[in-house]
Every structure is written in structure tokens, then in C-alpha cells.
């Protein structure tokens, strides 16, 4: 509903029918007071056709096409709003894809955690392909803790509680390089617009410098590669001032090639930053978070990173170098080769 109201607000700049305007004004009032009960759940079915009509209005569609300029518009707006009537009906059951796109809601504003098991199979172990009769390998239990930086404010006192974790997975959305949002000004006089990628870089730096995370392996996941791939051909990477010195090799034959170079460049920027502060190697992985396969691979990669970290103390020769998962992105079998 928030998508709809935000779109509704912005489409005021385009001419539209007065009834739809009245409806969107009403939605805006509800959002302002925070009283969502005035709309959910009773009114949803009744107003769903109206919501869909607002959505299909050419003014709305035109505004949505300019969504890159609108900072607070969720990019899932189209996915849900185009099916407003279907979703509001009593028989609707969310598909797995729907759940992924809704991004979940955490109770309260705290962290969320999940425990899962991954077997210890690795492509390098002997039992992987050959010996099908081997006894099942032990499952290692992992706990993944999601800490939403937005809910946890600028203070880093809570970070001390995570001193004993074995790895930190830091997620950055690649497509954020031209996105802005409001950050509170350090002098406390208000908030200013800042580039989201720069904001991520600063948070990343704060984390790696924190005394708690000394000697802690970091895995950087560069997410939303699909959006990035499409965007990088329209908006130059230097929309983010940190990427000012990006000069792709010309000529590039197709969109994928430029995206690949841009991705490699961004990964190198983070790796250099990490190495300059800690003197160690940063582990980077690429992902499209709504595509389960890439996330599955990202976790397997993280598992390998954890193993290397354990093994490095055992003075095990040639451990990291032989691994199927190389830290050098260009040789990774999971990145499309041209």
C-alpha cells in the first residue's frame, strides 16, 4: 500500500482523474498518521480494483518509468501492484516467489536469526563424485544473524555482542551506486542526501576497523547483479564519486561485458579498501538475492571461507590455493565468461 501511496503522491505532477486523486490523498493521510488499521485488512478487498486502476493509469505508469529519480519507491512496486486484485482476494496464497519479493517483516525492530545445516561436502573432497556408497558426511550447524543497520542506528555498542562469530557477511546492493537517501548529519542539525553506495562503504569501513572484528574473515556479497547489469549501460558508474576512475575497456560487444567489467572494478575497490586497512584478503561473491541458486552458492562459498580460516592455523600446505572456489573472480566458474 505504501508503494501505491508513494506513486500516488508523485503522480500529482501529472494530470489525472479527480476521483483517483481523492483516493490517493486518502492513502497519503493514512500513511502520515501511521494508522494502517484504517485500511488493512477490511478495506483491502473493497478497494483493490481501485488500487489497480490507479496503478494502470498512464500517469502512474509514466511516473514509475522514472523510478530511478524517486528515492523511496520500492522496486517491487510493479510486482505486487499489477496483481492488486488477485492479492487482496480471500483465496490468495503467497507463492515462494511472492514471499521472497516481500522481503519479510521482522518482529519489532530487532535482529532476525536462523539456524541451518550445510553438509561439509566440498568439490575437493574425495567422496564428492566418486564414492556414492560413502556414509553421509556430518552436517555442520550454522547460525546466520541478520543485523539490519537501519534499525540499529549509528552507535556500534551492540556490535560487541558478536565478538565470537566466525565470519561477517556484508551485503551491498550493486545497483545502489546511483541511489541516494537521507542520512542524519553529524552535527545533528538535520539530515542530508547521501549516495547509498558511499554510505555502504562508510559502514563497511567502520565494521572492519572495529576492534571486535580484528582477524575476522569478511565475506562481501555484491547483490542485485541483475538490476546492476541493466543499469550500468544507462547510468555511468561514476554516478558514485568513489568510482570516478572507472574506465572500461572499449569496445565492449554487449551489455553483459560492460557489467562484468564494472562488477570486477567494484569488487577490486572494496578489496583494496579492505587490504589497506587490514592487510588481508577480502572474499567477494556475486548474487541476485531473489535467485535461490546464487544465494545457495554464496553460502557454500562462505562455508569454504570458514574452513580456510580454521585450516590456516593448522599450517596446512596448499589449502586455500587448491580450493575449487578461488578468490580471484575472473577464474570463477560461476561468473559468465566471454
Amino acid at each position: 500500500m505504501k508503494c501505491c501511496a508513494t506513486v500516488g503522491a508523485t503522480m500529482q505532477c501529472h494530470a489525472t482523474k479527480s476521483m483517483l486523486k481523492h483516493f490517493s490523498d486518502w492513502l497519503l493521510d493514512i500513511i502520515a498518521t501511521g494508522d494502517l488499521d484504517a485500511f488493512f485488512p477490511a478495506a483491502t478487498r473493497e478497494y483493490a480494483p481501485l488500487v489497480e486502476e490507479v496503478w494502470r493509469d498512464p500517469a502512474t505508469q509514466e511516473t514509475y518509468r522514472r523510478k530511478d529519480e524517486l528515492h523511496f519507491l520500492p522496486d517491487v512496486a510493479e510486482y505486487f501492484l499489477s496483481r492488486a486484485v488477485e492479492i487482496s482476494s480471500n483465496e490468495y496464497e503467497p507463492s515462494e516467489r511472492d514471499i521472497l519479493y516481500a522481503e519479510g517483516v521482522t518482529q519489532g525492530n530487532g535482529l532476525a536469526f536462523i539456524e541451518f545445516s550445510l553438509d561439509d561436502r566440498s568439490p575437493m573432497s574425495e567422496t564428492y563424485t566418486d564414492n556414492l556408497d560413502a556414509p553421509p558426511l556430518p552436517l555442520t550447524r550454522y547460525q546466520l544473524i541478520r543485523v539490519n543497520a537501519k534499525g540499529m542506528n549509528e552507535g556500534c555498542k551492540w556490535v560487541e555482542m558478536f565478538e565470537d562469530v566466525q565470519a561477517v557477511v556484508f551485503c551491498v546492493a550493486l545497483s545502489d551506486y546511483d541511489q541516494m537517501w537521507f542520512v542524519p548529519e553529524s552535527s545533528g542539525t538535520g539530515s542530508q542526501l547521501q549516495n547509498k553506495m558511499i554510505e555502504s562503504k562508510e559502514l563497511f569501513e567502520t565494521m572492519i576497523r572495529h576492534p571486535c572484528f580484528k582477524d575476522m574473515p569478511f565475506v562481501l556479497i555484491l547483490n542485485k547483479y541483475d538490476v546492476f547489469e541493466e543499469k550500468v549501460n544507462r547510468v555511468h558508474l561514476s554516478a558514485c564519486e568513489w568510482f570516478n576512475d572507472f574506465s572500461p575497456v572499449q569496445p565492449h560487444h554487449n551489455n553483459q561485458s560492460l557489467a562484468h567489467q564494472a562488477y570486477y572494478y567494484v569488487a577490486m575497490k572494496f578489496k583494496d579498501l579492505y587490504a589497506s586497512i587490514t592487510g588481508r584478503k577480502l572474499f567477494v561473491w556475486q548474487a541476485r538475492a531473489r535467485d535461490r541458486v546464487t544465494i545457495d552458492e554464496a553460502f557454500k562459498y562462505t562455508r569454504e571461507v570458514l574452513k580456510w580460516d580454521e585450516e590456516k592455523d593448522d599450517n596446512y600446505f596448499g589449502g586455500a590455493e587448491d580450493s575449487f572456489y578461488s578468490t580471484d573472480m575472473s577464474s570463477s566458474p560461476f561468473v559468465r565468461q566471454e
Binding site: Q107, G108, N109, G110, G155, K157, W158
Partner: protein, 377 residues
């Protein structure tokens, strides 16, 4: 008035406030001709002396499998509740060392725990941003776990500290990483008052600790990462009664002095300070130089019943007993036999003042008792 004009006026106003604050600091420095220790020494007072058997470790409470973050005594009987990173609250009988309850928490990242005045309930909070209340007398479910009897949700950040209002089982105050303190009505689960926050003048960074005055339960003090402690009146939530500056680092812990006219604070700058509630003056600094080593942070403090002794836990495992009158360390529990092997994260005095309990990152709690009779000096 345009937005930029408003901004300019705002910046100018902040500068005025800062310069006034500086003037105030100078004035206070002028008026403060001495501190407590200086005055006491002039009067010929001598520090408390401790013999080797005066304060000894008489119990070691083992059972937690993770770092102990917080502990609290019951106001009457000798029970202690402790919270640990292993995701459990354990209720101990301090005299026998037996565990009477082991509560598995829905969120393992717990930072604080507290006993209700009647000793029937315990409250805890942490990174889940919720303060959970458990009634110790309620039946356990099929897995033997106590279920939460009330969840106080509403904070937008982690719950760093909680304390029940003295003699009121139905109200408690929490401090949070969202820069506010909240007074809760437990029976309804709703917030009675919010101290600080977006539109009110309160702390400007995470609030780490609260302490409610025993002599006047309408007054409480809070300590925060903004290096200040603030005094609040629960009837006036809109602004703090007074803000106490002086510390140069996060204020990790605050505790009211037994008579309610003063309170102590402990900070990341390695010092403890004693502030006067009525005048706002800093009465004493408790700090001992450590040479070139990194300055240990103060994690927790507690006063003895008379207030003559101040117990301070540090991040390097030391636990100093300060003579508050003369600002001298009279004992270091960290150097004694049976001392903790890691950071002391919390400590508390029993209701009758006869025992001190310390909790540490080495997963143990230790009870120290005063042996023998003390001569009144």
C-alpha cells in the same frame, strides 16, 4: 521564513548553547574548590583497611556456557538471576548455589535482566528490542520451558538495561539503543512514558544503563554513549531534569548512591564519577593510572549499604573496591585467589549488603562475602 533561514538560525542557536555550556563548565570549575577526597583528607580521615579474610570468594556459580552479561539480586530473599550469551536466564539460590530455574530465551542475544520487587518475575531484554517478562511460578510447557508472560515491545533499538520500579511489580524502566528510556505498565504492556526520543530533548546516543532512586522512586538516572548522564522525573517526560557532563567516553553504568542525593557513573574512559543530584556538581573522580597499558573500561558499579565502599568491575577482569570518601582503592578482587579470568561484565550487592556477586565473560558468577566483624572507623 525560508528553510535555509531556519537552518541558519538553528546552527546559530546550537553555537549559543555550546558557548553557554562552556561558560557553565568554567563557572563550575571555579566553584569547585575541592573534591570529597581532598576534604576528607583535610579532616584527617583514613581509608578503610581490608585484611586478607575480610572479603573472600565463598561461592562460584557455574552453569552458564556463554559470557555472563547481567545479574540482579532479589530485594528480599537471597536469589540471583543472571543472563548469558548462551541464551538462558538462570535463577540461583545464592546460599546453596543451586539453580532453581533455567529459562531458555526466545532470542539468545540478551543484555540485561532484573528481578521484580516481590521476587516472582524476572525481566530481560537485548538485541530483539523487546523486554520479556517471565513469571517464575507459571507452569512450564511440554519441553519444560517457561513461556513469556508479557512482551514489552515498542523500542526501536536494543534494550540495554531494565529495572523494576522499587516496590512496584507492575512498572519497570528500560533503556535502549534507540536513545530513549521507557516507563512501562506491565499489566497492559503499554508505554506509560517515553524519555527522550525524536521530538524531545534526551540523550543523543544509545542509552546503556538506568538506575532508579530508592528514596524517591520518581527519579531515575540514565547513562549513555553520548558521555552524559541524565536525571529524569517520571512525571515530566518531555525533558531531563539535569544533564551531567564530565565523562570522556560512553557511560556504561549508573547507580544511585544509597541516600538518593548522589549517583555514581562508570565509563569507557576508565573513570567512575560521583555526581550530586541537587547541585549538579561532579563531586569526585575515581581513577587509577595504569601506566602505558590500554585503559580498562568500567563495565559495572555498586555501592555498599552505607555508601562508603564503591565496587567497580573493569573490562580487564579487575574489580576494585574504592573507599568513596578518600578515593583510594582498598582492595582488588581481580588480584585475589579465585578471581575471574576475564572481563567483569556485571556486579551487584545483596539486599542486606553482606555479599557481592560478580558476573564475568569467563561464564561464571562469584559471590564474595564479608567475613568477620567490621570496626566502625
Amino acid at each position: 521564513m525560508s528553510v535555509s533561514e531556519l537552518k541558519e538560525r538553528h546552527v546559530a542557536a546550537i553555537e549559543t548553547v555550546n558557548s553557554l555550556r562552556e561558560q557553565l563548565k568554567q563557572k563550575r570549575r571555579l566553584l569547585l574548590d575541592t573534591d570529597i577526597a581532598g576534604y576528607a583528607r583535610e579532616q584527617g580521615r583514613n581509608p578503610v583497611s581490608f585484611g586478607p579474610t575480610d572479603l573472600v570468594c565463598c561461592r562460584i556459580l557455574q552453569g552458564h556456557t556463554g559470557k555472563v552479561y547481567s545479574l540482579d539480586w532479589t530485594p528480599e530473599k537471597n536469589k540471583i538471576v543472571s543472563a548469558s550469551q548462551d541464551g538462558r536466564l538462570i535463577v540461583w539460590n545464592a546460599l546453596t548455589s543451586q539453580k532453581t530455574h533455567a529459562i531458555k530465551l526466545p532470542c539468545a542475544w540478551v543484555m540485561t535482566c532484573a528481578f521484580s520487587p516481590a521476587g516472582q518475575s524476572v525481566a530481560c531484554g537485548g538485541l530483539d528490542s523487546v523486554c520479556s517478562i517471565f513469571n517464575l511460578n507459571s507452569p512450564t510447557d511440554k519441553d519444560g520451558n517457561l513461556t513469556v508472560s508479557r512482551m514489552l515491545s515498542g523500542h526501536k533499538g536494543y534494550v540495554s538495561s531494565c529495572q523494576y520500579v522499587p516496590d512496584e511489580d507492575t512498572h519497570l524502566i528500560t533503556s535502549s539503543g534507540d536513545k530513549t528510556c521507557v516507563l512501562w505498565d506491565i499489566t497492559t504492556g503499554l508505554r506509560t512514558s517515553v524519555f527522550g526520543g525524536e521530538f524531545q530533548s534526551g540523550h543523543t546516543a544509545d542509552v546503556l544503563s538506568v538506575s532508579i532512586s530508592r528514596s524517591n522512586s520518581r527519579m531515575f538516572v540514565s547513562g549513555s554513549c553520548d558521555s552524559t548522564a541524565r536525571l529524569w522525573d517520571t512525571r515530566v517526560a518531555s525533558r531531563a531534569v539535569r544533564t551531567f557532563h564530565g565523562h570522556e567516553g560512553d557511560v556504561n553504568t549508573v547507580k544511585f548512591f544509597p541516600d538518593g542525593n548522589r549517583f555514581g557513573t562508570g565509563s569507557d574512559d576508565g573513570t567512575c564519577r560521583l555526581f550530586d543530584v541537587r547541585t549538579g556538581h561532579q563531586l569526585q573522580v575515581f581513577y587509577q593510572q595504569h601506566g602505558d597499558d590500554e585503559i580498562p573500561h568500567v563495565t559495572s558499579i555498586a555501592f555498599s549499604i552505607s555508601g562508603r565502599l564503591l565496587f567497580v568491575g573493569y573490562s580487564n577482569g579487575d574489580c576494585y573496591v574504592w573507599d568513596t570518601l578518600l578515593a583510594e582503592v582498598v582492595l582488588n578482587l581481580g588480584s585475589m585467589q579465585n578471581s575471574h579470568e576475564a572481563r567483569i561484565s556485571c556486579l551487584g550487592l545483596s539486599a542486606d549488603g553482606s555479599a557481592l556477586c560478580t558476573g564475568s565473560w569467563d561464564t561464571n558468577l562469584k559471590i564474595w562475602a564479608f567475613g568477620g566483624h567490621r570496626k566502625i572507623i
